[in-house]
């Protein structure tokens, strides 16, 4: 009886909070049939927004994956000064509101910022252009790979790596043949979370992009703009695209993950 109550309260909570609202988005998008929704997401602006979000994600995710694995190795394996500080800074993007992140980048790279004038003198445009959007997205999605990999590295310990070193393996061979296989599922899960975060980023990108339609408008910004201009079908349809991208990412992960790893 208690178990039934528990199950219903969990399901009820999830339904009320997550499933019903998301379901509503899908329903609203296709309320007037498939054609208007399809038209809404195939306008040049919508297609550009889709492409831009994909591009930013494809750059930010590999960056944070490589950095994340290196940072996790440094935090777990190497005793160094200021390790505690590094560990805390990695979590900063989780605590800081994305709008603040956007403003911070603006302060640094903007026309009156420290680096802005020097960069624009050399013909490099950061704010209101792709570079700042990538920086903002990478900033907010930074912690996920680190946080997934650190506990796994701690758990596997260093004995296997030491054994490999006595057997003649170089540090790189040890990483590729021993460490990486041991942490691969943590990395994969971190990549999925990072991707989901990149796809959904809104606040920081909204500040630094300038939201120029067809140029610096990502899919989330496109949803917002459509909503503000009373193009509800456009807003819902673009939301559905975002939702499908996120679901696709999660599915890819489940597809690649083996049922039960031996070992």
């Amino acid at each position: 009886m208690a178990r039934l109550a528990l199950r219903f309260s969990v399901l009820g909570y999830l339904a009320l909070l997550l499933l019903v609202p998301v379901g509503m988005v899908f329903w609203r998008a296709f309320e007037h049939g498939l054609a208007p929704a399809w038209d809404a997401v195939t306008t040049p602006q919508a297609r550009h927004a889709f492409w831009l979000t994909t591009l930013i994600t494809l750059i930010a995710v590999p960056l944070n994956t490589v950095f994340g694995v290196i940072a996790a190795l440094a935090i777990v394996r190497r005793p160094f000064r200021g390790k505690g500080i590094v560990n805390a800074i990695v979590d900063l993007p989780l605590a800081l509101s994305p709008v603040v992140v956007g403003l911070a980048l603006f302060a640094l790279y903007g026309r009156n910022g420290w680096l802005g004038p020097w960069l624009s003198d050399h013909g490099i445009r950061v704010i209101f252009a792709l570079p700042s959007m990538i920086l903002a997205t990478a900033f907010v999605s930074l912690p996920f790979v680190v946080r997934e990999v650190v506990p796994v590295l701690r758990e596997i310990g260093t004995e296997q790596e030491q054994a490999a070193s006595t057997l003649g393996a170089s540090p790189f061979q040890i990483f590729r043949r021993i460490t990486l296989p041991a942490i691969r599922w943590a990395v994969a899960y971190g990549v999925v979370l990072t991707t989901a975060r990149c796809l959904g980023e809104f606040g920081a990108v909204s500040v630094v992009s300038g939201r120029i339609e067809g140029r610096t408008e990502t899919l989330t910004l496109h949803v917002q703009k459509s909503f503000e201009s009373f193009d509800l079908v456009g807003a819902y349809s673009a939301s559905v695209v975002l939702g499908l991208m996120a679901i696709g990412t999660l599915l890819l992960m489940t597809l690649f993950k083996p049922k039960e790893e031996a070992g």
Binding site: Q160, Q162, S165, T166
Partner: protein, 316 residues
């Protein structure tokens, strides 16, 4: 091939793990490093392997100074207490690891791995993963993996410490046979004196980062260099100024001038031997070990007054 350790020192913060240790391990020998935990025995082994860097001193393997060398360049085989099995590889792949790194051709690797799995009696389990093996099997795999690359020396860090008593005994005897076949210079770290005495040609007793004595097992038992060694390699009693082993305590029913009076507190029958717990007049306690026949002849029982004398004692 021999190992020479010269004046090696190692500190971990304030803790002195090794305090100027020097040691000679002869070619082809099986040497045991024996000591309580914290005595520095594992640290010494890890320094020989290059897994730990000494603060001072020198390490030679096969007459070559390897002090600054990385583990990869030392040609040692290392076996870990908790196996350090590569979990994502099969038994076969584990054993082949060192050979794959050395880029041996595939058919030679297959041949060598087969040979080694036969040696450690794991032929049927080549395709298994470590998680599907028992502790004893995992450790034999660890040994095969270390032996695969034909190391100059084989180093074992409490290799049987995580196994249950029966498997431990089996593997111990098996390791001794293996050594008699391969003659690889071997150093084994253990805190179990019985293991050290049973398996090794030479036992190095360590305590608080120093070597107390280096001797053959029999010499160690019969001529311990000091109190620490004497009490570490077997049970021991204090009797007056001397130290005496329980089986060297003689019990008599009558005094003879050299004896001391004692009262029997308990008599424990342990099969062939009988352990007699005694208390002397000064309140000092003592354990004697006699055969069942002697105990019956003397009709030993609790509360009885007997007279004790060490038949062999050591004074340090």
């Amino acid at each position: 091939m021999s190992i020479t350790v010269r004046e090696v020192t190692k500190r971990f913060g304030d803790f002195v793990a090794l305090d100027g240790v020097s040691l000679e391990v002869p070619t082809g020998s099986l040497t045991a490093l024996l000591g309580p935990s914290g005595s520095g025995k594992s640290t010494l082994l890890r320094i020989v392997a290059g897994l730990e860097t000494p603060d001072g001193g020198e390490i030679q393997i096969a007459e070559e100074d390897v002090t600054g060398h990385r583990p990869q360049e030392r040609g040692v085989g290392f076996v870990f207490q908790h196996y350090a099995a590569f979990k994502h590889m099969t038994v076969e792949q584990n054993v082949a690891f060192g050979l794959t790194i050395r880029k041996w051709p595939k058919d030679r690797i297959r041949h060598r791995v087969h040979e080694l799995l036969e040696l450690v009696q794991l032929e049927g389990l080549a395709k298994r993963y470590p998680a599907q093996l028992s502790g004893g099997q995992r450790q034999r795999m660890g040994l095969a993996r270390a032996l695969a690359v034909e190391p100059k020396v084989l180093l074992l860090d409490e290799p049987f410490g995580a196994l249950d008593a029966r498997v431990r005994k089996e593997l111990r005897a098996w390791l001794r046979r293996l050594h008699d076949e391969t003659h690889t210079t071997t150093v084994i770290v253990t805190h179990d004196q019985e293991e050290a005495m049973e398996v090794a040609d030479q036992v190095v007793v360590m305590n608080r980062g120093r070597i107390e004595q280096v001797a053959e097992p029999r010499e160690l038992y019969e001529q311990p260099a000091n109190e620490f060694v004497m009490s570490f390699v077997g049970p021991v009693n204090r009797l007056g100024d001397g130290w005496v082993r329980p089986h060297d305590v003689e019990l008599r029913l009558e005094p003879n001038g050299a004896t001391k009076e004692a009262m029997i507190e308990r008599v424990l029958h342990l099969g062939f031997e009988v352990r007699v717990e005694l208390v002397l007049q000064d309140g000092h306690r003592l354990v004697a070990q006699v055969t069942r026949d002697d105990a019956e002849q003397l009709e030993l029982h609790e509360g009885q007054i007997v007279f004790v004398r060490p038949s062999r004692e050591r004074v340090f």
